[in-house]
């Protein structure tokens, strides 16, 4: 999209010989020589929302590399978004440490399972994880689903399972969470991480 309203004079090597610099008696050669040696480096700033709690502070994440050129990206700094109406640039100690959270060697990178009574975590596949969760949910729901209350009114409740979703979810994922979880009859669910 190009909605530039005005075209400004461009500064380029060919023009410098007749620029104010040269006209005032200074040679542009030293800077032209420098430029032949120099190399550009790119960094990006990306807006995001802190994943920790329901306050949902705005963040700006700084990463090295020029995304347009598919260079490898690496986040090296995270600051509070000074323009964000919620936090106006501030972060709590947890949020201020986010960059270490991103690069932590202890981050959970894949599903793990600890069997009842066992003390060891075992890496499992996503398929196994989904199957296990679905199986446990189905068994619990079949056993404890409340279709009608004592007065005989239809209530369709499933009270023995709860659900926690993330804090940085968008409205859309909040909507989907609501639809899926309420459809199952779960009443105890929350869309943030204040716990």
């Amino acid at each position: 999209m190009d909605i530039t309203r005005r075209q400004f004079a461009k500064i380029c090597a060919a023009g410098l010989g007749s620029s104010s610099l040269a006209a005032l008696g200074f040679s542009p050669d030293p800077v032209l020589a420098e430029v032949r040696e120099f190399k550009l480096t790119g960094a990006t700033e990306t807006r995001n929302t802190c994943p920790y709690c329901s306050v949902s502070c705005g963040l700006i994440m700084h990463s090295l590399g020029d995304r347009a050129k598919n260079a490898e990206e690496s986040i090296f700094h995270i600051e509070g978004d000074p323009d964000h109406p919620v936090n106006r640039g501030t972060l709590c100690p947890k949020g201020a440490g986010l960059v270490d959270f991103i690069h932590s060697p202890n981050r959970l990178r894949y599903p793990e399972y600890r069997a009842p009574g066992s003390s060891a975590w075992k890496r499992i596949s996503w398929d196994e994880a989904f199957t296990k969760v679905a199986r446990l949910m189905k068994d619990d729901r079949d056993k404890n689903f409340v279709a009608k209350n004592a007065a005989g009114a239809t209530v369709n409740r499933w009270l023995t399972t709860g659900f926690l979703a993330a804090s940085a979810s968008s409205n859309e994922s909040g909507h989907i969470t609501h639809k899926v979880i309420r459809n199952l009859g779960i009443l105890g669910f929350d869309n943030q991480a204040r716990v």
């Binding site: 190009d2 005005r6 060919a14 104010s20 800077v31 190399k39 550009l40 480096t41 700033e45």
Partner: protein, 305 residues
């Protein structure tokens, strides 16, 4: 300034983001001169930057003694606010001939200094220019049309226009001015920015302000969006490898323009006008990448092709 909080005290909310800072600092040009001198050390264009520093010093002397200008009338200001025009617009506001007195005093002050010969000649030649010619130069510069203005005259004529417009902007103290459309033009005079700064003090820590190339007003614009086309995707900050400094070029992959952005946290004394001219290397490198400059430095004729 940092204040020490007492036990039981609760920090007050930061409140609204101030939209506009008028150029009220008394030492505006003096601090620019300091910055030019500082940047000139070990710089490939040290001589040029020192000359620009001398010019900024003279601008300070002239504005200190500049006759008080009458403020635009309240009814005129209201009319501008209603119509969405900048009150001191470079085309809408009839500039007072006082600006030429400012230029004359600026040149007198420069001639008294030890200048490189071509600069002395340029000043002497400008002193002999007639009113019509000077007005023609001014109109050219203010409309970003450098073609009819001699490159050696540009820093001085622009310098005098900056003095007049800065003095005029100061008469608007206490006025609320609306954001212009397009939002990358100065709400006071409608000129393009020379660069942007990210503030590091007061309640504005981390906020980005665009700095007017003419009247030195600063107006707020949300960080990490293109100041030219409002795009928020594909913004890259270019700097020079191995040359740390507060200046990078915020470039947009949508409209292929860029504007320099200066992090004051890294260099509290940085000045948009001075730091822009001290980083011509960034312009040359980005031009090679096919990016175009989104702002203007009124004091620099980029040469003709």
């Amino acid at each position: 300034m940092q204040t020490v909080m007492q036990p039981g005290e609760v920090e007050s909310p930061r409140g609204d983001i101030p939209f506009l800072f008028l150029p009220l600092r008394d030492d505006l040009f003096a601090s620019r001169a300091r910055r030019f001198r500082q940047l000139a050390e070990n710089h490939a264009l040290g001589g040029f930057l020192r000359l620009m520093g001398q010019l900024a010093e003279s601008q300070q002397q002239v504005i200190d003694a500049f006759p008080a200008q009458p403020a635009p009338s309240p009814s005129y200001l209201e009319e501008c606010a209603r119509g969405g025009f900048p009150p001191l617009g470079v085309f809408g506001w009839q500039r007072d001939p006082t600006w030429r007195d400012g230029l004359r005093r600026l040149l007198e002050s420069m001639v008294g200094k030890q200048l490189p010969k071509p600069a002395g000649v340029a000043c002497a030649r400008l002193e002999r220019c007639g009113e019509d010619e000077l007005e023609r130069f001014a109109t050219g510069l203010l409309s970003q049309d450098f073609a009819g203005v001699p490159p050696e005259a540009v820093p001085f004529v622009a310098g005098a226009l900056q003095i007049y417009w800065t003095a005029m902007a100061r008469t608007l103290t206490g006025r609320q001015l609306p954001r212009l459309e397009p939002a990358n033009l100065c709400p006071v005079c409608g000129s393009p920015p020379v660069a942007a700064v990210v503030k590091s003090d007061g309640g504005q820590d981390g906020l980005r302000y665009l700095c007017c190339s003419l009247c030195s007003s600063q107006w707020h614009m949300v960080r990490a969006i293109c100041s030219n086309c409002d795009a928020s995707k594909g913004i890259t900050y270019f700097g020079i490898d191995g040359q740390p400094g507060p200046v990078s070029a915020e470039s947009c992959s949508q409209c292929h323009s860029y504007l320099k952005i200066i992090k004051l946290e890294e260099s509290p004394g940085a000045d948009p006008q001075a730091d822009d001219l001290a980083t011509l290397a960034i312009d040359l490198l980005l031009e090679r990448e096919g990016c175009r400059r989104g702002g203007a430095n009124l004091q620099f004729h980029p040469g003709s092709l």
